[in-house]
Subunit: 347 residues, 2 copies
């Protein structure tokens, strides 16, 4: 993109002509001088001074003090990010909204704790105007970093971290109604006459997993005993939890899995144990992202959350914050989006 440029401002071409070098050489000098011989670079710098040339990106920064970029930080191993469609869906929503604001999405991967020093340096270095962060765990160092450097941030998911007193004040976040959605899933199983309903929870240091467990408990409160095992939102974790649950109670006749990927793992273990779905055991998942639930065999009844919409909303709330002065800002607030039970063959 080239900024609209009043005719009176000198162009890079004019600088190159004045210095007697190619446009490419002049451009290299403007962008750091990498690989340009000293005497040529000096000529270009003299031309820049004499003509009063302002590079596009510097002009933009001078006017707006903005980089036009926003960081997206997902503190999960890259293998999870690329294999769980939840993440691609959320990123897609964010990307669409940022594009509508002509803002560059910068994805920062966090593989392990050692990466946070680098992330902090990058965020503090003025390379982005704000940040979007989601899928945080309770002990995540990211909120403290963001608070320390004072970066405008919108979070995905209810904050569950513990970085000090009143630590969630002033936090803007977007989440689905995890508890309500889970409640509806379990009530659906109860309404079908299922009696021994187990739950495969996600990692309980994430609020999405904890809130879905709470919804499961709400719905069972009528008197049914609770029975759950903790998974990790992956098919393998769902399979392990399912095996453990069947071991503890072979009479299970329904399972509510905390996400669709764990439900596919559970489905495999139920099959291998000789049980039919939904005949012997009814199964409900959570997410309905991409084709996971729909292409399972049988297709999964699941709690749909508007993952892409939540991504868009996160980005929109951040852009709103960046586009008004500190005095005009409204108080940070959570935004909770509705969930919907999608009925398919598995329950």
């Amino acid at each position: 993109m080239t900024e609209p440029r009043p005719d009176s401002r000198p162009t890079l071409e004019a600088v190159a002509a004045h210095a007697g070098v190619s446009r490419a050489t002049a451009s290299r000098v403007v962008n750091g001088g990498d690989g340009v011989r000293t005497h040529l670079a000096d000529r270009v710098r003299t031309a820049i001074r004499e003509l009063g040339y302002i590079p596009n990106h510097a002009a933009r920064t001078l006017v707006t003090r903005r980089t036009g970029a926003v960081a997206v930080i997902i503190p999960e191993p890259e293998i999870r990010i690329f294999s769980d469609p939840f993440f691609s869906r959320q990123v897609r929503g964010i990307a669409k909204e940022l594009t509508a604001h002509d803002t560059q999405l910068v994805l920062l991967l966090v593989e392990d704790r050692g990466d946070y020093d680098r992330i902090e340096r990058y965020l503090a270095g003025g390379h982005v105007d704000g940040a979007l962060a989601f899928s945080l765990h309770a002990d995540d160092p990211l909120p403290a970093i963001i608070r320390r450097i004072g970066m405008s941030t919108v979070f995905g998911g209810r904050p569950g971290w513990t970085i000090g007193p009143a630590e969630h004040d002033g936090v803007t976040y977007v989440d689905a109604d995890n508890r309500g959605g889970a409640r509806e899933a379990v009530r659906h199983l109860l309404a079908q006459g299922r009696r021994r309903i187990a739950h495969i929870a996600g990692p309980l240091d994430q609020t999405s997993a904890a809130d879905r467990l709470s919804g499961y408990r709400d719905a069972l409160a009528a008197g049914r005993p609770e029975l759950f095992a903790e998974g990790d939102f992956t098919p393998a974790g769902g399979a392990r939890a399912m095996a453990e649950l069947l071991d503890r109670d072979p009479g299970i006749d329904a399972v509510f899995a905390g996400n669709d990927l764990m439900a596919t793992g559970a489905l495999r273990v139920l099959r291998e144990s000789g049980r039919t779905v939904p005949g012997d055991v009814a199964l409900v998942g959570f997410d309905d992202a991409e084709a996971v639930a729909e292409s399972a065999d049988p297709p999964l009844t699941t709690v749909r959350q508007d993952i892409e919409g939540m991504g868009r909303l996160m980005a929109r709330l951040l852009m709103d914050t960046l586009n008004v002065g500190p005095d005009e800002r409204t108080a940070p607030r959570p935004v909770i989006t509705a969930t919907e039970l999608v009925r398919r063959a598995s329950a």
Copy 2:
């Protein structure tokens, strides 16, 4: 991370004490003043001046003129990036190598052509020290952008773009021996007595696809007729191409697919047509990334490329370039990594 700091340099704490504000407020001012009231910000700025404080990140930039970050640019729709394990594998290799150099990976998504203006602005804005780019198509604007702003870049895949005379001079890239690997795959099929060997090519505006087609032709040169259709490296594209090929020649007894995802699509179409694999039709893929080939039914014979290793190598070559002065640099050169035929049940 905190830079080692000689005792004589004033700390942020000292600035905060001098200004009579909290460390958090001082930090906000140092990082752009977002959300700090004017009179407080003024006091902090005065303290910074009086004490001669240099922020860590500025100090780092002053010393090294480096941002400590590298951009990874993949000009493919985000849906492809998240669904083809080739990309996650390559990114994993890059991430490992950059982490070893304490360098932040910044992933820039390119959804469509309109995004390039923004990418150019971001790259020209001094937010990264260099770039890694892979999966380019022939008409990709990225090489011209990179040349225009003079950014140190290593490419993944043999350059196939056309941006002017001598346009590939001075380009450093890493690629697999696509042609050799394809040749070996087809020779394996010939050695098993297969006579009518079809090829499902990737998008032929990518050199990886074009080179695999060349390898297929090399191996058939002995006299067998060639028969190929163009896919798009996705399962759906592989299925479409397979249907088209069966339509043109129902007597096909072997298929070499340009990647494993297209092979899985072909497998489905072969099954649906009533053909057995490998009985009626032998099938070979390309990649062997994650579990795609191994978990297919039957497991796929495929040409393995060291995708993660290529990612590491790209990052290492870039870091080498960044760590030496322009005069010490060796000439740019391609690095071609070996492929290996992995025999499984499908052929």
